[in-house]
Amino acid sequence: MSVNEKIVSDLVANNVEFVTTVPCKQLAGVIDQIDACDDIYHIPSNKEDEGMGLCAGAFMGGKRPAIIMQNTAIGVTINTLVTLTQYYRMPLPMLISYRGELGEPVACQVEMAVHTKALLNQLNIPTYHFHHEDDVNEFDAILKHTFMCNKPVAILTDASFWKGY
Protein backbone atom coordinates (compact mmCIF):
# COMPACT_ATOMS: atom_id res chain seq x y z
CA MET A 1 0.00 0.00 0.00
CA SER A 2 1.42 3.39 -0.95
CA VAL A 3 1.71 6.21 1.58
CA ASN A 4 -1.19 8.01 -0.10
CA GLU A 5 -3.36 4.89 -0.02
CA LYS A 6 -2.51 4.29 3.64
CA ILE A 7 -3.48 7.88 4.58
CA VAL A 8 -6.81 7.70 2.78
CA SER A 9 -7.54 4.23 4.08
CA ASP A 10 -6.87 5.37 7.69
CA LEU A 11 -9.13 8.39 7.19
CA VAL A 12 -11.93 6.15 5.98
CA ALA A 13 -11.34 3.58 8.75
CA ASN A 14 -11.70 6.40 11.30
CA ASN A 15 -14.95 7.64 9.74
CA VAL A 16 -13.44 10.87 8.46
CA GLU A 17 -16.00 11.75 5.80
CA PHE A 18 -15.39 15.45 5.16
CA VAL A 19 -11.99 16.66 3.99
CA THR A 20 -11.06 20.14 2.89
CA THR A 21 -7.83 20.84 1.06
CA VAL A 22 -5.64 23.71 -0.05
CA PRO A 23 -3.09 22.23 -2.40
CA CYS A 24 0.67 21.80 -2.11
CA LYS A 25 2.86 20.02 -4.65
CA GLN A 26 3.91 17.48 -2.01
CA LEU A 27 0.26 16.73 -1.24
CA ALA A 28 -0.92 16.40 -4.83
CA GLY A 29 -1.05 12.58 -4.74
CA VAL A 30 -3.02 12.32 -1.50
CA ILE A 31 -5.42 15.06 -2.62
CA ASP A 32 -6.06 13.11 -5.86
CA GLN A 33 -6.83 9.97 -3.86
CA ILE A 34 -9.17 11.84 -1.52
CA ASP A 35 -11.00 13.31 -4.48
CA ALA A 36 -11.41 9.84 -5.95
CA CYS A 37 -12.57 8.27 -2.67
CA ASP A 38 -16.34 7.62 -2.56
CA ASP A 39 -16.42 7.57 1.24
CA ILE A 40 -15.07 11.12 1.61
CA TYR A 41 -16.73 14.40 0.65
CA HIS A 42 -13.84 16.46 -0.73
CA ILE A 43 -14.39 20.20 -0.57
CA PRO A 44 -11.46 22.28 -1.79
CA SER A 45 -11.27 25.62 0.02
CA ASN A 46 -9.77 28.88 -1.17
CA LYS A 47 -7.98 29.68 2.05
CA GLU A 48 -7.17 27.53 5.04
CA ASP A 49 -9.16 29.55 7.58
CA GLU A 50 -12.21 29.14 5.35
CA GLY A 51 -11.48 25.40 5.35
CA MET A 52 -11.35 25.31 9.15
CA GLY A 53 -14.76 27.02 9.23
CA LEU A 54 -16.15 24.34 6.91
CA CYS A 55 -14.62 21.63 9.13
CA ALA A 56 -16.12 23.19 12.29
CA GLY A 57 -19.53 23.16 10.63
CA ALA A 58 -19.17 19.59 9.38
CA PHE A 59 -18.17 18.42 12.85
CA MET A 60 -21.21 20.05 14.42
CA GLY A 61 -23.32 18.55 11.65
CA GLY A 62 -22.14 15.09 12.64
CA LYS A 63 -19.31 14.34 10.22
CA ARG A 64 -15.68 13.89 11.22
CA PRO A 65 -13.55 16.43 9.35
CA ALA A 66 -9.91 16.82 8.37
CA ILE A 67 -7.88 19.52 6.64
CA ILE A 68 -4.94 19.06 4.32
CA MET A 69 -2.72 22.10 3.80
CA GLN A 70 0.82 23.49 3.68
CA ASN A 71 2.72 24.70 6.75
CA THR A 72 2.53 28.27 5.45
CA ALA A 73 -1.15 27.99 6.44
CA ILE A 74 -0.22 28.08 10.10
CA GLY A 75 0.49 31.75 9.53
CA VAL A 76 -2.98 32.18 8.01
CA THR A 77 -5.01 30.25 10.55
CA ILE A 78 -3.79 31.11 14.05
CA ASN A 79 -6.85 33.22 14.87
CA THR A 80 -9.22 30.54 13.60
CA LEU A 81 -7.42 27.74 15.44
CA VAL A 82 -7.57 29.69 18.69
CA THR A 83 -11.01 31.35 18.57
CA LEU A 84 -12.94 28.61 16.78
CA THR A 85 -11.37 25.15 16.83
CA GLN A 86 -9.79 25.38 20.29
CA TYR A 87 -12.25 27.78 21.94
CA TYR A 88 -15.26 25.58 21.09
CA ARG A 89 -13.22 22.37 21.66
CA MET A 90 -13.48 20.76 18.25
CA PRO A 91 -11.30 17.99 16.82
CA LEU A 92 -9.36 18.70 13.64
CA PRO A 93 -6.65 16.49 12.18
CA MET A 94 -4.37 18.70 10.10
CA LEU A 95 -2.24 16.85 7.56
CA ILE A 96 0.41 19.43 6.75
CA SER A 97 3.14 19.43 4.15
CA TYR A 98 6.25 20.61 5.99
CA ARG A 99 7.86 22.70 3.28
CA GLY A 100 11.27 24.27 3.82
CA GLU A 101 12.96 21.16 5.22
CA LEU A 102 15.87 19.13 3.72
CA GLY A 103 15.55 18.86 -0.04
CA GLU A 104 13.57 22.07 -0.36
CA PRO A 105 14.41 23.92 -3.60
CA VAL A 106 12.54 27.14 -2.78
CA ALA A 107 14.43 29.30 -0.29
CA CYS A 108 11.41 31.29 0.82
CA GLN A 109 9.74 28.13 2.14
CA VAL A 110 12.48 27.88 4.78
CA GLU A 111 11.33 31.19 6.23
CA MET A 112 8.04 29.65 7.39
CA ALA A 113 9.58 26.27 8.19
CA VAL A 114 11.72 27.83 10.94
CA HIS A 115 8.57 29.12 12.65
CA THR A 116 6.29 26.13 12.12
CA LYS A 117 7.05 24.01 15.18
CA ALA A 118 7.49 27.04 17.43
CA LEU A 119 4.05 28.35 16.48
CA LEU A 120 2.39 24.96 16.94
CA ASN A 121 4.13 24.63 20.29
CA GLN A 122 3.00 28.11 21.34
CA LEU A 123 -0.58 27.15 20.41
CA ASN A 124 -0.36 23.92 22.50
CA ILE A 125 -1.25 21.90 19.42
CA PRO A 126 -0.16 18.24 19.64
CA THR A 127 2.34 17.87 16.80
CA TYR A 128 3.71 14.79 15.03
CA HIS A 129 6.48 14.88 12.43
CA PHE A 130 6.58 12.27 9.65
CA HIS A 131 10.17 12.08 8.35
CA HIS A 132 10.55 8.40 7.39
CA GLU A 133 8.05 6.54 5.25
CA ASP A 134 7.28 4.14 8.11
CA ASP A 135 6.12 7.06 10.24
CA VAL A 136 2.82 6.87 8.37
CA ASN A 137 2.02 3.81 10.49
CA GLU A 138 1.22 6.18 13.38
CA PHE A 139 -1.43 8.02 11.37
CA ASP A 140 -4.29 5.77 12.49
CA ALA A 141 -3.42 6.26 16.18
CA ILE A 142 -3.08 10.03 15.67
CA LEU A 143 -6.57 10.21 14.18
CA LYS A 144 -8.01 8.25 17.11
CA HIS A 145 -6.15 10.53 19.51
CA THR A 146 -7.51 13.65 17.79
CA PHE A 147 -11.15 12.59 18.03
CA MET A 148 -10.60 11.37 21.58
CA CYS A 149 -9.27 14.71 22.86
CA ASN A 150 -11.28 17.16 20.66
CA LYS A 151 -8.27 19.23 19.70
CA PRO A 152 -6.63 20.36 16.50
CA VAL A 153 -3.65 18.08 15.92
CA ALA A 154 -0.82 18.70 13.44
CA ILE A 155 0.88 16.03 11.37
CA LEU A 156 3.90 17.59 9.67
CA THR A 157 5.06 15.66 6.62
CA ASP A 158 8.43 16.65 5.19
CA ALA A 159 10.15 16.09 1.84
CA SER A 160 12.07 13.04 3.11
CA PHE A 161 8.76 11.39 4.05
CA TRP A 162 7.37 12.10 0.59
CA LYS A 163 10.64 10.80 -1.01
CA GLY A 164 11.79 14.08 -2.40
CA TYR A 165 10.16 17.18 -3.69
Binding site: F18, Y41, I43, P44, S45, N46, K47, D49, E50, G51, M52, G53, L54, C55, A56, G57, A58, F59, M60, G61, G62, K63, P65, N79, T80, V82, T83, L84, Y87, Y88, R89, M90
Partner: protein, 184 residues
Protein backbone atom coordinates in the same frame (compact mmCIF):
# COMPACT_ATOMS: atom_id res chain seq x y z
CA UNK B 1 -34.37 49.70 9.11
CA UNK B 2 -31.19 48.61 10.84
CA UNK B 3 -29.84 45.08 11.38
CA UNK B 4 -31.41 44.57 14.80
CA UNK B 5 -34.83 45.42 13.36
CA UNK B 6 -34.37 42.82 10.62
CA UNK B 7 -33.37 40.25 13.25
CA UNK B 8 -36.51 41.05 15.28
CA UNK B 9 -38.66 40.56 12.17
CA UNK B 10 -37.10 37.26 11.13
CA UNK B 11 -36.75 35.78 14.64
CA UNK B 12 -40.07 33.86 14.45
CA UNK B 13 -39.10 32.52 10.99
CA UNK B 14 -35.66 31.24 11.97
CA UNK B 15 -36.38 30.04 15.50
CA UNK B 16 -37.10 26.45 14.42
CA UNK B 17 -34.06 26.19 12.16
CA UNK B 18 -30.35 25.81 12.71
CA UNK B 19 -28.76 29.26 12.64
CA UNK B 20 -25.09 30.17 12.50
CA UNK B 21 -24.73 33.81 13.48
CA UNK B 22 -21.91 36.19 12.72
CA UNK B 23 -19.45 37.46 15.33
CA UNK B 24 -20.05 40.59 17.37
CA UNK B 25 -23.24 42.61 17.44
CA UNK B 26 -25.29 40.30 15.15
CA UNK B 27 -24.84 37.37 17.57
CA UNK B 28 -25.35 39.61 20.62
CA UNK B 29 -28.53 41.06 19.13
CA UNK B 30 -29.96 37.67 18.15
CA UNK B 31 -29.06 36.30 21.58
CA UNK B 32 -30.95 39.18 23.24
CA UNK B 33 -33.95 39.09 20.86
CA UNK B 34 -34.56 35.33 20.79
CA UNK B 35 -31.98 33.00 22.27
CA UNK B 36 -32.47 29.46 21.00
CA UNK B 37 -30.40 26.30 21.40
CA UNK B 38 -30.55 26.05 17.61
CA UNK B 39 -28.43 29.22 17.41
CA UNK B 40 -24.67 28.87 17.05
CA UNK B 41 -23.18 32.16 18.17
CA UNK B 42 -19.74 33.03 16.88
CA UNK B 43 -17.74 34.62 19.68
CA UNK B 44 -14.67 35.15 17.51
CA UNK B 45 -13.28 34.41 14.06
CA UNK B 46 -14.44 37.20 11.75
CA UNK B 47 -15.69 36.02 8.37
CA UNK B 48 -16.49 32.35 8.87
CA UNK B 49 -20.25 32.31 9.49
CA UNK B 50 -20.98 31.27 5.89
CA UNK B 51 -18.28 28.58 5.93
CA UNK B 52 -19.44 27.08 9.23
CA UNK B 53 -23.06 27.14 8.04
CA UNK B 54 -22.20 25.47 4.75
CA UNK B 55 -20.27 22.79 6.63
CA UNK B 56 -23.26 22.08 8.88
CA UNK B 57 -25.59 21.98 5.86
CA UNK B 58 -23.39 19.60 3.88
CA UNK B 59 -23.06 17.24 6.85
CA UNK B 60 -26.75 16.73 7.60
CA UNK B 61 -30.25 17.34 6.20
CA UNK B 62 -31.82 20.00 8.45
CA UNK B 63 -32.10 23.50 7.10
CA UNK B 64 -29.29 25.89 8.07
CA UNK B 65 -29.35 29.67 7.91
CA UNK B 66 -26.07 31.55 8.15
CA UNK B 67 -26.56 35.15 9.18
CA UNK B 68 -23.64 37.11 7.86
CA UNK B 69 -22.70 40.71 7.16
CA UNK B 70 -21.24 42.53 4.20
CA UNK B 71 -17.99 43.25 6.03
CA UNK B 72 -17.71 39.65 7.10
CA UNK B 73 -18.27 38.30 3.59
CA UNK B 74 -15.67 40.74 2.27
CA UNK B 75 -13.26 39.29 4.86
CA UNK B 76 -13.85 35.75 3.59
CA UNK B 77 -14.55 36.38 -0.10
CA UNK B 78 -13.37 32.90 -1.04
CA UNK B 79 -16.49 31.53 0.59
CA UNK B 80 -18.76 32.48 -2.35
CA UNK B 81 -17.11 30.24 -4.98
CA UNK B 82 -17.00 27.41 -2.45
CA UNK B 83 -20.72 27.81 -1.76
CA UNK B 84 -21.52 28.03 -5.48
CA UNK B 85 -19.63 24.85 -6.27
CA UNK B 86 -20.86 22.79 -3.32
CA UNK B 87 -24.61 23.17 -3.54
CA UNK B 88 -26.52 22.33 -0.36
CA UNK B 89 -30.23 22.91 -0.89
CA UNK B 90 -30.76 23.04 2.88
CA UNK B 91 -28.50 26.13 3.14
CA UNK B 92 -29.46 29.78 3.13
CA UNK B 93 -26.89 32.53 3.41
CA UNK B 94 -28.50 35.74 4.65
CA UNK B 95 -26.12 38.65 4.19
CA UNK B 96 -27.38 41.66 6.12
CA UNK B 97 -25.71 44.37 4.08
CA UNK B 98 -25.61 47.65 5.94
CA UNK B 99 -22.56 48.88 4.06
CA UNK B 100 -20.52 49.11 7.22
CA UNK B 101 -18.47 47.28 9.81
CA UNK B 102 -21.17 47.64 12.48
CA UNK B 103 -19.45 45.97 15.41
CA UNK B 104 -16.37 48.13 15.17
CA UNK B 105 -18.01 51.53 14.88
CA UNK B 106 -19.79 51.63 11.52
CA UNK B 107 -16.75 52.20 9.35
CA UNK B 108 -17.92 52.01 5.71
CA UNK B 109 -17.26 48.83 3.70
CA UNK B 110 -16.68 48.64 -0.04
CA UNK B 111 -20.08 46.89 -0.29
CA UNK B 112 -21.60 50.24 0.61
CA UNK B 113 -19.67 51.89 -2.20
CA UNK B 114 -18.95 50.41 -5.66
CA UNK B 115 -19.00 46.69 -4.86
CA UNK B 116 -22.24 44.70 -5.21
CA UNK B 117 -22.20 41.48 -3.21
CA UNK B 118 -25.23 40.34 -5.21
CA UNK B 119 -23.27 40.68 -8.45
CA UNK B 120 -20.22 39.03 -6.90
CA UNK B 121 -22.25 36.06 -5.65
CA UNK B 122 -23.78 35.61 -9.10
CA UNK B 123 -20.37 35.92 -10.78
CA UNK B 124 -19.06 33.24 -8.42
CA UNK B 125 -21.69 30.86 -9.74
CA UNK B 126 -24.35 31.03 -7.01
CA UNK B 127 -27.66 30.25 -8.72
CA UNK B 128 -30.33 31.72 -6.45
CA UNK B 129 -29.20 35.17 -5.37
CA UNK B 130 -31.86 37.61 -4.22
CA UNK B 131 -31.23 41.20 -3.25
CA UNK B 132 -34.00 42.80 -1.22
CA UNK B 133 -34.84 45.81 0.89
CA UNK B 134 -34.65 45.39 4.65
CA UNK B 135 -38.44 45.45 4.93
CA UNK B 136 -38.76 42.54 2.47
CA UNK B 137 -36.29 40.26 4.26
CA UNK B 138 -38.80 38.20 6.22
CA UNK B 139 -40.88 37.37 3.13
CA UNK B 140 -37.85 36.57 0.99
CA UNK B 141 -36.47 34.34 3.72
CA UNK B 142 -39.79 32.50 4.09
CA UNK B 143 -39.91 31.91 0.33
CA UNK B 144 -36.30 30.68 0.31
CA UNK B 145 -37.06 28.21 3.12
CA UNK B 146 -40.07 26.91 1.17
CA UNK B 147 -38.13 26.62 -2.09
CA UNK B 148 -35.72 23.91 -0.87
CA UNK B 149 -33.05 25.55 -3.01
CA UNK B 150 -29.75 26.92 -1.75
CA UNK B 151 -30.31 30.68 -1.66
CA UNK B 152 -28.14 33.73 -1.05
CA UNK B 153 -30.11 36.71 0.24
CA UNK B 154 -28.55 40.15 0.30
CA UNK B 155 -30.73 42.33 2.53
CA UNK B 156 -29.86 46.00 2.13
CA UNK B 157 -30.37 48.01 5.28
CA UNK B 158 -29.16 51.11 7.09
CA UNK B 159 -26.16 51.02 9.37
CA UNK B 160 -26.72 51.50 13.06
CA UNK B 161 -26.53 49.60 16.32
CA UNK B 162 -28.45 49.18 19.54
CA UNK B 163 -27.02 48.66 23.00
CA UNK B 164 -26.70 44.95 23.72
CA UNK B 165 -24.91 42.94 26.37
CA UNK B 166 -22.04 40.63 25.36
CA UNK B 167 -22.69 36.88 25.32
CA UNK B 168 -21.22 35.32 28.44
CA UNK B 169 -22.29 31.75 27.66
CA UNK B 170 -19.36 29.36 27.49
CA UNK B 171 -18.42 28.45 23.89
CA UNK B 172 -18.54 24.73 24.65
CA UNK B 173 -22.08 25.14 26.01
CA UNK B 174 -23.08 27.00 22.81
CA UNK B 175 -21.58 24.23 20.70
CA UNK B 176 -23.00 21.39 22.80
CA UNK B 177 -26.60 22.62 22.85
CA UNK B 178 -26.40 23.39 19.10
CA UNK B 179 -25.13 19.88 18.34
CA UNK B 180 -27.91 18.36 20.46
CA UNK B 181 -30.42 20.23 18.29
CA UNK B 182 -28.67 19.03 15.12
CA UNK B 183 -28.98 15.45 16.25
CA UNK B 184 -32.43 15.68 17.88
Amino acid sequence: MIRSEILKEIAPVISEHLVVCNIGLPSQELHMIDDQPTNFYMLGTMGLSSSIGLGVALAQDKKVISIDGDGSVLTNFGTLPTIANNVADNFILLIIDNGSYGSTGDQPTYAGRKTSLTAVAKACGCENVIECKAEETRGVLEDALKSDKMTIIVAKCESGNIKVPVITMDPVVIRDRFMKQVHS
